[in-house]
Symmetry: D2
Subunit: 344 residues, 4 copies
Amino acid sequence: MKVAIVGATGYGGIELIRLLRQHRHVTEISVFSSTQAEAPLTSTYPHLQDVYKGILQSMDTEELATEYDVVFLSAPPGVAATLAGNLLEGKAAIVDLSGDFRIKEPSIYEAWYGREAADATITGQAVYGLSEWNQEQISKAKIVANPGCYPTAILLGLAPAVKNNGIDMTSVIIDAKTGTTGAGKNPAPMTHFSEMNESMKIYNVNEHKHTPEIEQQLSEWSEEADAVTFTPHLVPMSRGIMATMYATCTSYSSAQEWIDVYKAAYEAHPFVRVREDGFPATKEVYGSNYCDIFLDYDARTNRLTIVSVIDNLVKGAAGQAIQNANLMNGFEETEGLEFVPIYP
Amino acid sequence: MKVAIVGATGYGGIELIRLLRQHRHVTEISVFSSTQAEAPLTSTYPHLQDVYKGILQSMDTEELATEYDVVFLSAPPGVAATLAGNLLEGKAAIVDLSGDFRIKEPSIYEAWYGREAADATITGQAVYGLSEWNQEQISKAKIVANPGCYPTAILLGLAPAVKNNGIDMTSVIIDAKTGTTGAGKNPAPMTHFSEMNESMKIYNVNEHKHTPEIEQQLSEWSEEADAVTFTPHLVPMSRGIMATMYATCTSYSSAQEWIDVYKAAYEAHPFVRVREDGFPATKEVYGSNYCDIFLDYDARTNRLTIVSVIDNLVKGAAGQAIQNANLMNGFEETEGLEFVPIYP
Amino acid sequence: MKVAIVGATGYGGIELIRLLRQHRHVTEISVFSSTQAEAPLTSTYPHLQDVYKGILQSMDTEELATEYDVVFLSAPPGVAATLAGNLLEGKAAIVDLSGDFRIKEPSIYEAWYGREAADATITGQAVYGLSEWNQEQISKAKIVANPGCYPTAILLGLAPAVKNNGIDMTSVIIDAKTGTTGAGKNPAPMTHFSEMNESMKIYNVNEHKHTPEIEQQLSEWSEEADAVTFTPHLVPMSRGIMATMYATCTSYSSAQEWIDVYKAAYEAHPFVRVREDGFPATKEVYGSNYCDIFLDYDARTNRLTIVSVIDNLVKGAAGQAIQNANLMNGFEETEGLEFVPIYP
Amino acid sequence: MKVAIVGATGYGGIELIRLLRQHRHVTEISVFSSTQAEAPLTSTYPHLQDVYKGILQSMDTEELATEYDVVFLSAPPGVAATLAGNLLEGKAAIVDLSGDFRIKEPSIYEAWYGREAADATITGQAVYGLSEWNQEQISKAKIVANPGCYPTAILLGLAPAVKNNGIDMTSVIIDAKTGTTGAGKNPAPMTHFSEMNESMKIYNVNEHKHTPEIEQQLSEWSEEADAVTFTPHLVPMSRGIMATMYATCTSYSSAQEWIDVYKAAYEAHPFVRVREDGFPATKEVYGSNYCDIFLDYDARTNRLTIVSVIDNLVKGAAGQAIQNANLMNGFEETEGLEFVPIYP
């Protein structure tokens, strides 16, 4: 399998390289960049010395379309929208890690993203790559819209409850916490070490663009789906997302019943671990493709509390992208992804 | 003002020393300990060299009752319950930083704390020391039950909404995040640096003992008060609490109306800052007695999101204790507490 | 005392505001900026809401020279060099926190700083503000060159050994570690949280511009002074410097003898604490103007190891600047600086 | 290859599990503990759910000696000394990660470790497992004393300079910095998050027990070897060691010459990367078995500055242990160890 990565200088891009290095079916990895072409990747990322010797190549859509089996697009917003038309004419399976094709309805995309939506034909063709729940569609797809980091943790956490009609869909509140790598490689005041360490922040309250992505998927799962409250926070750590989700219950009335529902839902899915005994910490999935879930039911308030944790750069980005590429290519879903979490 | 601190080796205790050193009316600070008597405090806390030369004295209730103007009790659970009876016979104003006297109803105390409640007569006498809202009662009190760190942030955040009957009291969800000093000085696996750094944790879901303290105060403010969902998280930082609170609105329908309500409520209170423009980060109150609040209203869900941040050791413990002692002694409320946040 | 701060939007500038707020002789603080004039300081630093209400004023050298008693210059390199000539004609005492006037020899300045040296007349007039060792000169000075953060920790640590001729001056090696605030407010890849957390870095090996500043002062203390090895490191914390210094001994042969030498040297200096028993951690001086020192002598190698810690923004910048302004104005050296370290 | 791990509940133990899971020749991993037998490992380390299902077995020396091909001893000090005699009679290759067999001279061991030395016959038989420099001996060994974390970084950094007789052996000063995992799993005041975050510490000055281990190896490489100064520091991060080493040069007089010497020395060694261009940060080897080295020569002082970084739990413990087991078993040195550093 010949693989191309477009936008390899971002954190999603180098995480793809880290993971693909362990993939048994990958024979070649090429990296492309529109902005830094001709430089060795090690000049941006010296930790790749002796690991990856490739030079950043300037974009050549035709080469991408014809020479590679899989093209991962991890470029900034808008780049995939421009490239995808031509790429779709070639042989490569396409996995887009940007948000360009996630939102089906252009007006919603434009309202939340504040930019023009991609060609609706392409977006229509793109399968939403929530691996555990769209497995069949993904395996037949030519292009996959890889989910956002927050939606991955949140949707995996909500799915069994929603699909079992166990919660009041108007009551869903999501309080999410992320490490700083979610904000990308570019230095900015919000993620400046001096002002981020020893600090807990909140941002984009009621206006984060992952909101419509979450709501769109929920509405495919339930006719009762409604607007959700989604609040992102920034935590002084590099990697990890924890989503704490609250909903009023309409069925079941004990934590154990709920745990059983979740265990049944994820039994066949190696990357989702419904925890045996106690809530997970983000560090317990660090560097791995796991999503760990646990929950509690509170009889006093009749509310369910669901907690879901992932490594935002793995299951929340590069790991799930490879999982999807595996499905698209008929490989084992877990190929190249069986990393044990780095702990501590 | 002669001051005694019982339990000076805990984080609350040394924070009292730090703050009282700037207090113009304090003439003497004595420190007492039941476990480490006769040692200089600097042998536990070398950062106090040249600052505080006192020796930890063994407990002498009579001396405490008769020699001091204010006694701060920052000892482990149960110690204050044992001491207070005798202390109340003396002249000292008493501020208890433990949870021994916060819960009025013994059965509720025992259910959540898992230990015997203190003498109901004393608890009945103890005024709940939420300085901004109980000012008058505090100023007449002989003994004050200083609020817990979480309840301080949460109740200051909820008060104007609750007292204005602006929210549905059955809808209150509190997602709170704290730094590790809230867990105290004793090393434990949960706060071991190796396993806490780069990790976001959740704990005591639906069973944290600050829950009844929050509900008790809410029920004094509103007849509609109901059980709340309160979820504490542990963040990789030493100091700081952020409480993110959600409630369905029953009146007002814009963020600005809500901000006006809050500004009016706290106009006369120098330690609560309703923020001008944007949500606060915990670092923005670091080391200070401020509680910073901001909020947003979401028309899509008709929900209010309130965020409140404090330094858990200052406004959440030692700072508010001194603020209460000031009120009890007729000093300026702000005396000894006018620290500017350390930033960054 | 009317005070002006030029360059108040940097970390040194706001630290001056934090400290000056506690200074009993300060009646007014004005802030000036060449780049962001007319904005309230709170738009950059919301933690100053209700604390500091001033508007950033555009630079007016004449006003600075005539209206203020003290002018603190904490602007970027080169600004002080431009302003000082005019300011010196006015009444204000000037404390420059930039490096513009620290190096007496222009060719050395130019070799290490890579920019043109300031007017030699002004540099000649500027007294090096290492408060503990230049007290007399500082108290008579019109303009003080406030020491760099590293040189402060290092020179206070080396002074007694050097002045007692106790070490071989050709053997001095300084391994220094700093928090990220030393790198300033501008976001940069090196201090991007995602790449700085969980990482220890080294930078400017053998070429840091604080090297000649250290050597210049050593050569005033000892005729044997020679080139030193100085290696700066960046540690994942916001505040704090630890300098670990090594030298071969030419006299004394026990740790205790050395400790006695140091205790004698700093007996009269309230901000330097020779530790009683054990080496200091940086957190033990956090937020305070202390410099804590301890040392050990190793008979196996005949080497002295001296460790010195400071808060880089206080004793390493704003605190020492105020200490110098106090000396220049005949106030108590400690005025406005008696903060207890924030611990933990 | 059947593998046993004694002391699997420590950080070294679980890191062995993480790495061995990727090792193609490992067919079985059993874990033993003297203190927590019969419990599933996941009750201590929930991140291993679905990854490692083994139960901690109580120690059975005979089983260890006869049933396994490799026994990794990662138990507390003294345990290996007790077990090794019996184990040596069995078939297993033994790699001891404790310090029990590193020091050849019992009196030196006892002076630095403050406990009785192991049986001299066994210690005599144990080969020091610095993989890159003792490859041949290791491949023939029955028992390997795996190097300490600090000595690994330090000796790999010093070796080429020492073996080329390029430095004055009386001038060697080692300033080393480690993350907290080096201090192990047991919670302690020194590594309590609240007091470790935002703090730089120094400990065991001139008395760390890795000192004689370093000196012993240096004296095998050079007749001029002498006592070294070795100073360990604790940095607020979980993983990583940076050793900054200083020595006066006796030959070569440019950084480039030195880099060439180092490149030649490590050309054939895949886990030591002499960096192309600039000093390494610890995060650049995070989670990997790499040791990255860079250096500078300063003509002003005629000193060489060598910097070496490792992940203390990988190349400094479990990774090098597996590397040694590979050599002992005739596998590829890199088997199971080709992880790309996790960055950021």
